[in-house]
């Protein structure tokens, strides 16, 4: 018998988790939406960023959340470097070639991590957010609440960026119609570089939040890649709103699936919902194309 308190607890935890998933998926949605590039290395980039968080936290004895101040600009530059080095040469080529490049990048990152750090999972043993407090029948985990707040703030800031800045408008125009955007004078090459850099920078932020309660090992990226793709596909290419709602659905479904069935079956619930959404609405919940 599941008590109302437990149901409420898991729902709240699911919302927090969903907001985090939305943040993780946001970078992928940006890249796919603007550039039409299927970045299969998305999760592996998060994995590499998480290793950076671990190294920086442990070496400098700082909270993992503070490492974001260093890693966001660093990974923005890394993202631009990856774009010019690996992605730009295959822009406009067959989708299979683009997929092969990003899959290859992911495999390279996994094996670099395995060679450098071995297979033992690494975690930051301390965080100022590693506590909880009671709010009536609820237990609020400080790390999860902080992650949810940062996710909301970041996605709001991204929304403002996309709607109120020239670059943001250029990104949205390119998402809607690439050729017309080019005809309007948008330098799509530089725009793509900035988009890719921004997408990877968002991954770095996600990883610093993840490491407040999670851990990293070379194959961490696989599950995040899959979840991100589910969220992006289910949300559709309709801006931030779709990703947020989609992420929330995934987070709550996973949390409640764990409660009503077993933790082993939690992802089955997520994928069943994913299948049903796409069955009835193939372009996603908020997709415009």
């Amino acid at each position: 018998m599941i008590s109302p308190e437990l149901l409420l607890q898991n729902s709240v935890d699911g919302i927090f988790l969903g907001l985090f998933y939305s943040l993780v998926a946001m970078g992928l949605a940006l890249i796919f939406g603007v550039m039409d590039i299927i970045n299969f290395a998305h999760g592996d980039l998060l994995m590499i960023a998480a290793y950076f968080v671990w190294l920086t936290s442990v070496d400098l004895s700082v909270d993992p959340t503070l490492t974001a101040l260093l890693l966001i600009p660093l990974f923005f530059i890394i993202g631009i470097g990856i774009f010019f080095g690996m992605i730009q040469p295959v822009l406009g080529k067959e989708p299979l070639i683009q997929i092969a490049v990003t899959v290859g990048l992911g495999l390279i990152l996994q094996n670099i991590a395995l060679a450098m750090f071995k297979a033992q999972p690494k975690a930051v043993p301390y965080s100022i957010f590693n506590f909880s407090y009671s709010l009536g029948p609820l237990t609020i985990y400080a790390s999860k609440l902080f992650i949810a707040v940062i996710s909301i703030v970041t996605m709001y800031a991204l929304n403002v960026f996309l709607n109120k800045t020239y670059i943001g408008l250029a990104m949205r125009s390119t998402t809607d119609n690439r050729e017309v955007a080019q005809l309007m004078g948008i330098n799509t090459r530089m725009l793509y570089a900035v988009t890719f850099g921004l997408g990877v920078a968002l991954i770095a932020l996600s990883s610093s939040l993840w490491m407040t309660f999670g851990q990293v090992q070379p194959y961490l990226g696989t599950s995040f890649s899959l979840i991100s793709w589910v969220i992006v596909a289910m949300g559709g290419l309709g801006g931030i709103t779709g990703v947020v709602y989609s992420g929330l659905i995934v987070g709550v479904a996973e949390s409640l699936g764990s409660l009503f069935l077993t933790p082993s079956a939690r992802m089955a619930v997520v994928y069943i919902i994913f299948f049903l959404v796409l069955w009835f609405r193939p372009r996603g919940l908020f997709g415009r194309r």
Binding site: K122, A123, F131, T262, P263
Partner: protein, 457 residues
């Protein structure tokens, strides 16, 4: 003309395929190093890799020992340590012990294949070692379902498999050529429960209810079932038995569920990934137990888990198939050599290989004495393993083993299994795993119940 060209191309392709297949077949038969390469040749048949030698001085110069472990993938942390341990023991056998003296000082050569991340890869790895090296003995593959796949190959080829996988069912399949020195999974679960019950009795702590938590592989289930049976037979109520996938990324829903149960004790069967997450989540949630006992040897008390989880694992225990603190001459020597070579303490993954491979050494020595004409034939090796009765006084392998006694039963399991219990304690400001049960390390004793818990019922 077109159709003639097409026919010609097809014919060429078919010929190429036939030649390639024939070439591979011949290469695998004729190119593989034989384990019976003689130092002096008198009368000898050379048609089979396990050659019958008629001259007892014509022993092999080297004996290939196969090792299949997950060197990549989710379980690489275990496999890589097992490989390190195996190489160390082979070097000790060759350089310090003079090789297999009963076979003219034959040296062991370790040949390793990666079991990867799936049973099929493990099976192929075993097949490759048999095809390429004609290994008479193989060790592996730590993960029980990988080992099961591998054992189908070793059994078919009559290769002795000394397994470091702990699931009970591996020695219950009726296989003839499998041996296991390490204590099986259910023994670990039972040991964890026995420790808790024993300490509860000694400290007058009332334990009425328990939650059992395990990752949902056959290994986790075997260990957990051993714990459940022991607890139930001693009158402890199982408030809940929760399973979860090994690669779970968020354990908050599980912790929420456990919190509602108000159980006295938690018995947890983790691997590495989940152990750190569980410990940190329990600490963050403020959940209090009389005791949290790990079982199954993975997670909580190993140096990497302590580094990752910090004081979240303070006072946690786990069962170990190996006791790094056992004060025998050879155990201390091997632990020290491992630390010097690899810069870290050996954990269970290494420990099982230490005594398993030393047992292989003992069996080879025995086979050389019992069957000088054909020591490496499968049934002779099997007989040698079955005849072993090793203790601290007559073997190195027993000195490395927690109970100090190795002797196999009919199914291939050790008749004298023993797990040690390690607990994470604060030793001069450093979190350190110390052996606390059944005999504690000198200067240490188990800390039970957990500080900060108070008996309310």
């Amino acid at each position: 003309m077109k159709s003639v060209s097409s026919t010609a191309i097809i014919a060429i392709v078919v010929v190429v395929i036939i030649v390639a297949v024939a070439g591979i077949y011949l290469a695998s038969r004729g190119g593989a190093p034989s384990t019976t390469t003689p130092t002096t040749t008198t009368t000898q048949k050379t048609t089979s890799p396990t050659t019958t030698v008629t001259n007892t001085s014509a022993y092999p110069k080297q004996i290939y020992i196969g090792l299949v472990e997950p060197l990549t993938g989710n379980y690489a942390v275990f496999g890589q340590e097992a490989q390190q341990a195996a190489q160390l023991i082979v070097d000790i056998i060759n350089n310090e012990l003079g090789g297999i003296k009963s076979m003219g000082g034959a040296k062991l050569v370790l040949v390793t294949e990666d079991a990867g991340g799936a049973p099929e890869t493990a099976r192929l790895a075993a097949q490759k070692l048999i095809s390429n090296y004609n290994v008479p003995i193989m060790l592996g593959a730590y993960v029980s379902r990988f080992t099961s796949a591998m054992a189908a190959v070793t059994e078919q080829n009559k290769v002795i498999l000394v397994t470091d996988a702990l699931v009970d069912s591996l020695t219950q399949q009726g296989w003839q050529y499998i041996f296991r020195v390490a204590p099986k999974a259910s023994a670990h679960g039972k040991a964890a429960a026995d420790f808790v019950l024993d300490m509860a009795k000694k400290t007058n702590t009332t334990i009425k209810t328990a939650v059992v938590l395990n990752e949902d592989s056959i290994f986790g289930t075997s260990v957990a079932n051993g714990a459940v049976l022991e607890l139930v037979s001693n009158g402890v109520e199982i408030a809940s038995h929760i399973t979860y996938p090994y690669d779970i990324s968020d354990v908050t829903p599980i912790i929420n569920q456990i919190k509602q149960l108000n159980a006295d004790v938690l018995i947890s069967v983790p691997y590495f990934n989940d152990g750190v997450l569980i410990a940190k989540a329990i600490k963050a949630s403020g959940l209090k137990f009389a005791f949290i006992a790990g079982a199954g040897a993975c997670g909580y008390t190993d140096p990497d888990s302590i580094k990752a989880a910090g004081d979240a694992v303070l006072y946690y225990t786990n069962t170990y198939s190996y006791n790094p603190a056992r004060p025998t001459q050879w155990n201390q020597k091997v632990v020290s050599a491992f630390e010097q070579r690899y810069g870290k303490m050996p954990t269970e993954g290494a420990g099982i290989i230490f005594y398993s491979l030393m047992t292989v050494y003992e069996a080879l020595e025995k086979a050389g004495k019992m069957f000088p004409n054909d020591p490496l034939s499968p049934d002779h090796l099997k007989a040698a393993f079955q005849s072993l009765d090793l203790n601290d006084n007559n073997s190195i392998a027993a000195q490395l083993y927690p109970s100090g006694h190795i002797k196999f039963d009919a199914s291939g399991d050790n008749l004298y299994p023993l797990t040690a219990i390690l607990q994470v304690q604060n030793v001069n400001g450093t979190l350190t795993p110390v052996v606390v049960w059944p005999e504690a390390q000198p200067g240490f004793s188990p800390i039970f119940p957990r500080p900060g818990w108070t008996q309310t019922k």
